[in-house]
């Protein structure tokens, strides 16, 4: 047990290190601006006094490294400063939206994960049949379509033509849970379609890889019934790749959410990021990027840890 904790701790440390480097990149990227933030905000026509006032207000007179450390210390306590454009606290802009985004991603994941893993296993068992080929073509098309294409097709049919679900996912506090699920169904479905295609293909590849191994052949040759071969022999070894697939795709969900939120006007963090980028509201951009990167790293970490926990061989690196 001790060595597992050690390994997991090592991975955690590595993740934290990468996050630190990313925070450095995110912070110092803004420093690369031609001129500085004050110049960028006020534009070419700014007077020298205005520039000076804004620089003092934003603390731009300190050296970059001091400002970075201050920013990092605040960021650790979830305080990302104030927006340049609206002067609101960044945390109040992002806070609720982040919860909304997590809700959407979780909604999509709850549908996508079980369905795609079951379908992936089925397709792997039926490999080289017509169904496998059809599934291959269909999943490839879903992966290749941009999210907004799928999103608008769903809007066109489900909301405009058939009127089953609302096309704009506006939320309010007074909604019941069912109402909420109904309102956010189309954005969630878009995400499900994309992620499911990815997951099905990856699950299929993992299972096929496994079924080609000699010990499965052995199990078949000794006369074990097919379901037993799958459940008792293949599945214990399949957990590691499957967990990997899930974690990687959840990480994918986090970024896919940006486009889907814009399509469905969903009040999430992705839309906040896009707005901030077009308004050049750097504190918000930095905060959103850091949050997205942290989530992404966390999920990749989860994939690693899951793989270590389910595969004893990884616990004893040579």
């Amino acid at each position: 047990m001790g060595d597992i904790i050690k390994l997991v701790g090592k991975r955690l440390g590595l993740g934290l290190l990468i996050l630190l480097i990313i925070s450095i990149i995110i912070f110092f990227m803004v420093e690369l601006l031609p001129g500085d933030i004050a110049q960028a905000v006020l534009g070419q026509g700014a007077t020298a006094e205005n520039l000076k006032a804004l620089r003092t207000k934003m603390g731009l007179d300190d050296p970059a490294i001091v400002r970075y450390l201050a920013w990092l210390a605040d960021a650790v306590t979830f305080d990302f400063g104030r927006s340049i454009v609206t002067d609101e606290k960044v945390t109040t802009i992002i806070g609720e939206r982040f919860a909304n985004t997590l809700f959407l991603a979780a909604y999509a994941a709850v549908i996508a994960v079980p369905v795609s893993i079951i379908l992936g296993v089925v397709v792997a068992l039926l490999r080289n049949s017509v169904f496998d080929k059809v599934a291959n073509v269909v999943t490839l098309s879903f992966i290749s379509s941009p999210e907004f294409f799928l999103g608008y097709i769903l809007i066109l049919y489900f909301s405009v033509k058939w009127g089953i679900f609302p096309s704009i996912a506006s939320l309010s506090d007074s909604m019941s849970f069912w109402e909420l699920l109904n309102r956010t169904f189309l954005p969630a479905l878009t995400l499900v379609l994309v992620v499911m295609a990815h997951m099905m293909r990856m699950t299929r590849a993992a299972i096929i890889n496994l079924l080609a191994s000699p010990y499965i052949e052995m199990a078949k040759l000794k006369g074990a019934p097919p379901w037993k071969v799958i459940v008792k022999h293949a599945l214990p070894n399949a957990w590691a790749p499957i967990i990997n697939v899930i974690a990687l795709n959840l990480a994918y969900l986090i970024t896919g959410v940006v486009l889907v939120e814009v399509v469905f006007v969903y009040p999430g963090i992705g839309q906040a990021l896009v707005d901030a980028v077009s308004k050049r509201d750097f504190p918000v951009v930095q905060a959103c990027c850091l949050i997205f990167a942290a989530t992404f790293i966390l999920l990749n970490l989860a994939a690693d840890v899951g793989a270590i926990l389910t595969n004893p061989r990884l616990r004893h690196p040579k």
Binding site: I18, L140, S144, F148, I153, I155, V258, Q286
Partner: protein, 411 residues
């Protein structure tokens, strides 16, 4: 029971019986399961649902016939060796090649194909289609069809250039890391790790918020492009140059070439497009690096490399004459895959209004600008989105076949 419904089921049943009789088990399975599904669909959705299924099947059949004919056409045109290879291509790959071919024609001859100019306002906003405009007008009264044709040129060209730059940077670094090993390898590997641990769309948004979009300055884009080419030149230099003198001359040449290329680049694309290309190249080069490093790493340990080293060949010779020829197949497939990613990223960014800037016609931004039409049940805004999807699917089909062929992946 209309004539259509009777004909529909009769056709399905007759063909499935025929398939079963002639022992075409796969075809029979598809046809008969389609029949069963149609029973349910017919009860739930009525005649329109069946009509939709029939249309889809017709379109599929049409695509299949085009793909088959195009493959035969290619086999007829090409030499014997190539023909043999092409004969193994599945219909999906042939279809992909046909689509890529069509897009290439459309992009290259855009000004001759399009009936109107790219940014030419010819009627009122959202005017419906008439004999003058095939697909109607967009939100400013420009011809939709012409803009789609021009979009094929703008969007695809940008994605192609971005992919190429990402590929040159990533592949060169990967090849160098594989031959040099040691410290350089470690540093490059860690750098790639860090860049890849930021989600690509987020990283692109971050970089665009700083350098890019509509505010990009020509001088910034020029210096960034020069810097990028200098880095690439440095990689080439590290592989090819020998001795201090070689480094000096090489560096001078590299800087000169970099400035020249940057001037050329900024004269073709405007500032925001150059920034977009660079952003894409930086984000996707680590992926190329990873693959090249892995492929070249397998080649480097071969005996013939050892022999070449003992002969006293330099790194540049090894890369050019030994490693590259032995890793082309996976690299070409990777180029296709990267192109899909880059294309989707650029389309997504343009859709968000942060990529290709108006009035340049571009598929991603066209979808966004005309999205209001969708709430009136009009499908024209979906056509550019569909065009993006179709090209990516096509490239994926071809790549799938190439991967299958090169890796001998028989499962």
């Amino acid at each position: 029971m209309s004539f259509f419904v009777v004909g529909y089921y009769a056709l399905l049943l007759v063909t499935s019986c025929l398939a079963a009789y002639f022992n075409q088990r796969q075809a029979f399975l598809v046809l008969f399961s389609l029949t069963l599904v149609s029973f349910v669909l017919g009860i739930v959705g009525g005649v329109p649902a069946l009509r939709a299924v029939a249309t889809c099947a017709g379109l599929l059949l049409f695509a299949g016939m085009i793909a088959y004919a195009f493959r035969e056409f290619l086999i007829y045109l090409s030499s014997d060796d190539m023909g043999k290879e092409l004969r193994t291509a599945p219909l999906t790959a042939a279809f992909g090649m046909f689509v890529i071919f069509t897009y290439a024609i459309m992009g290259i001859f855009a000004p001759w194909i399009a009936p109107h100019g790219e940014a030419e306002v010819i009627s009122s906003a959202f005017a419906p289609a008439d004999e003058n405009m095939l697909l109607g007008a967009d939100q400013l009264g420009r011809d939709m069809f012409s803009r789609i044709v021009f979009g094929a040129r703008n969007t695809v060209a940008l994605a192609l250039v971005g992919t190429t730059l990402a590929f040159i940077l990533g592949a060169m670094a990967g090849l160098l890391a594989a031959t040099k090993g040691g410290f350089f390898d470690g540093v490059m590997g860690r750098t790639a790790d860090v860049i890849m641990s930021i989600p690509s769309l987020i990283f692109a948004l971050l970089m665009l918020s700083i350098f890019g979009g509509s505010l990009a300055a020509p001088s910034t884009s020029f210096w960034l492009l020069t810097g990028f080419f200098c880095v690439v030149g440095l990689l080439f230099l590290a592989a090819a140059a020998e001795g201090a003198m070689g480094w000096l001359i090489g560096a001078a040449i590299a800087v000169g070439v970099a400035v020249g290329l940057a001037l050329f680049g900024t004269s073709i694309f405007n500032a925001s497009e150059v920034i977009l290309i660079l952003v894409v190249a930086i984000i996707y080069s680590p992926r190329v690096y990873r693959l090249t490093r892995a492929v070249a790493g397998n080649v480097v340990v071969m005996d013939y490399i050892e022999a070449a080293k003992l002969r006293g060949e330099g790194n540049w010779y090894l890369i050019r004459r030994e490693i590259l020829p032995n890793s082309t197949a996976p690299l070409i497939a990777e180029f296709g895959l990267e192109f899909c990613f880059v294309f989707l990223l650029i389309a997504g960014l343009s859709f968000l209004g942060l990529g290709i800037q108006p009035p340049t016609a571009d598929w991603g931004s066209m979808v966004r600008e005309n999205a209001t039409l969708i709430s009136f049940g009009d499908i024209t805004p979906l056509i550019p989105a569909g065009a993006i999807a179709l090209l990516t699917v096509a490239v994926n089909f071809v790549v799938d076949w190439m991967l299958h062929r090169s890796s001998g992946l028989k499962e």
